[in-house]
Amino acid sequence: METIVCIVQTEGDGSLAKAALEAVACAKELAAGLTAQFAVGLLGETVQPGADALANCGASAFFAVSGAAFAQARYATDAAAVTALAKAAGATIVLGAATSRLARVMPGAATRLGGVSDASVTAVAAAGGKPVVTRWYYRQRMFAELTRDARPWVVTIAPGCFAAYAGAGGSAAVTGVTPELAAGGARTTVTRIISPSGEQQTIRPDAKLLFVAGAGWTKKQSDGAAHAGEAEKLILNFLNKSKASLGTSKSLIDLSGEGQQVMSFLTHMHQVGQTGATPRHPKGLATCCHGEEPHVVGWRFIGERRAVNLDANCGWAQGKADVLYVADAFKVMAKVIELMG
């Protein structure tokens, strides 16, 4: 008989973010499939609001590691916390969202528990009474279904794969858990979170549209000159109007390393692809991007895909996009912005 614990991190005010609620939905579904019980293990400075939000989720128990030391993501404290929560719940399966905070400690915690781990799984099922997970290999090029006999089995769930738990809240009784921390206290201090401000905040994980800018925006155009300044204005203008999330190709980002004129608001975190991100959005629009395989593997979780490229034979034409507009992106995007009003 499996015992599941779902680790959920709380936000600064004790509430739960979408990814945490998705992990709870996953735990609930898996527990039902295995006719097993699931507990919730909360982690954060303040946990009661989060526990109360889950009061009616069907969890058999609520455990929590809380306090100022657990306000922020820090390996030494978080790994100890996840380990303690899993032990308190007597868990054979430990689930958690693959957020930046949990993804960077769950495999480590699995080692402390003497267990095994799988990261960023996109589906979880109970097949013949056994849990089976699906995850991607080789940067989203192929996917596998796998199961394991070893326990505890620590699994992180890729955000966006389950509908977030949305049941009514209530009042939950939480059992506090005290993790074993190294004597002498933590050597790491989290000093701050640095976020791009206002217009510069162009990575928007919840946006409906991913807008990808490729290196073509900086290349010489039909008049023999490059127009990076104009490109920058068009892109920012479109992002403001559409509230899309911005992605780029590697070539565009790498140009900055080579000292060429590129767009000031781009960072490596915008890069989509093999060595970049694999964001999840219902739609994606690629502009001035060739659609080569190492780029397009980053589009695995983009629903509808359209591209604007001068070249009718670019990669997007080869079954990688639903629609390819063979046109000048400068002109098309200027008109799109105008039409958006």
Partner: protein, 267 residues
């Protein structure tokens, strides 16, 4: 740090991403079709880790860089011909399959054992570097487990910047959600850094560095210890059905294209 750092970079090898990859099941479990024929490269994020390590070693007198790499010997040799020209390091090679289907825990245990065996290893000077994920398994697990096995609990993942401050304090920027960074400080080694892209471009080939490295690379490859790696119980490994019916719109006025795009965005 008066004596410098001991920087150990863990870096696997992966097939060149420009290659077509197809899963196959063989006697040793799951692997890639023609795996041994596919050209390999140093895992890109490990590559960034290596360049950052070399840069840091240059800045902190007395530092030394090791590259611990696991893969089939012949493939390692091929990859090292290029990598050895990029940065100065001493190679520690482990002979095992390099694929993504192997067990991260087994890989990490072998890497940790090889690191423990480095003559003169001093954990009070140790900085463990690696990629925050690989281009094969992509789990972000191996480095965490290596750290656990070596008792290094000051770990950072998705690192893009590491600076050494007065008194040897290390200041780190880690990627978090929404294009933000978490900034932390750690009082000094031992610490572990899973690198994302870092800040350095790929260094140009330096034949002198290459020659110096290769003197140690060949003996390291000869000494490469064989390692057995398990796989989880895979039910299946499949390529996604990824081909779309692309509608190509050309010779169409810009206005019509723009209108279609706006309608689609708003739909």
């Amino acid at each position: 740090m008066s004596d410098g750092y001991q920087i150990v970079v863990c870096g696997g090898i992966v097939p060149d991403p420009l290659q077509t990859l197809e899963p196959v099941h063989g006697p040793a479990g799951w692997g890639l079709k023609n795996e041994l024929m596919l050209p390999a490269i140093l895992d890109p994020w490990s590559g960034h880790a290596l360049y950052e390590a070399a840069n840091l070693a240059k800045a902190a007198a007395g530092s030394k860089v090791w590259l611990v790499s696991m893969g089939p010997k012949a493939k390692l040799q091929q990859v090292m011909m290029t990598v050895a020209q990029k940065a100065a390091f001493e190679l520690i090679a482990l002979d095992a399959p390099a694929g993504g289907f192997t067990e991260a825990g087994d890989v990490a245990a072998a890497l940790a054992e090889a690191i423990e065996a480095i003559p003169g290893l001093d954990k009070s000077r140790l900085l463990l570097f690696g990629g925050w994920q690989s281009a094969s398994r992509g789990a972000g697990a191996t480095m965490q487990i290596v750290g656990e096995k070596l008792g290094v609990v000051d770990q950072f993942q998705g690192v893009d910047k590491l600076t050494i401050e007065d008194g040897g304090v290390l200041r780190v920027l880690e990627r978090v959600e929404g294009g933000s960074y978490q900034e932390s400080t750690v009082s000094g080694p031992p610490a572990l850094f899973g690198w994302a892209t870092g800040e350095l471009p790929e260094p140009p080939n330096n034949p002198q560095v290459g020659m110096a490295n290769m003197r140690l690379v060949m003996p390291a490859l000869q000494k490469a210890k064989p390692v057995q790696l398990a796989q989880p119980a895979f039910g299946s490994v499949q390529l996604p059905c990824q081909k779309r019916e692309t509608r190509i719109v050309k010779d169409t006025p810009v206005e019509a294209i723009a209108r279609e795009i706006v309608d689609w965005i708003n739909a």
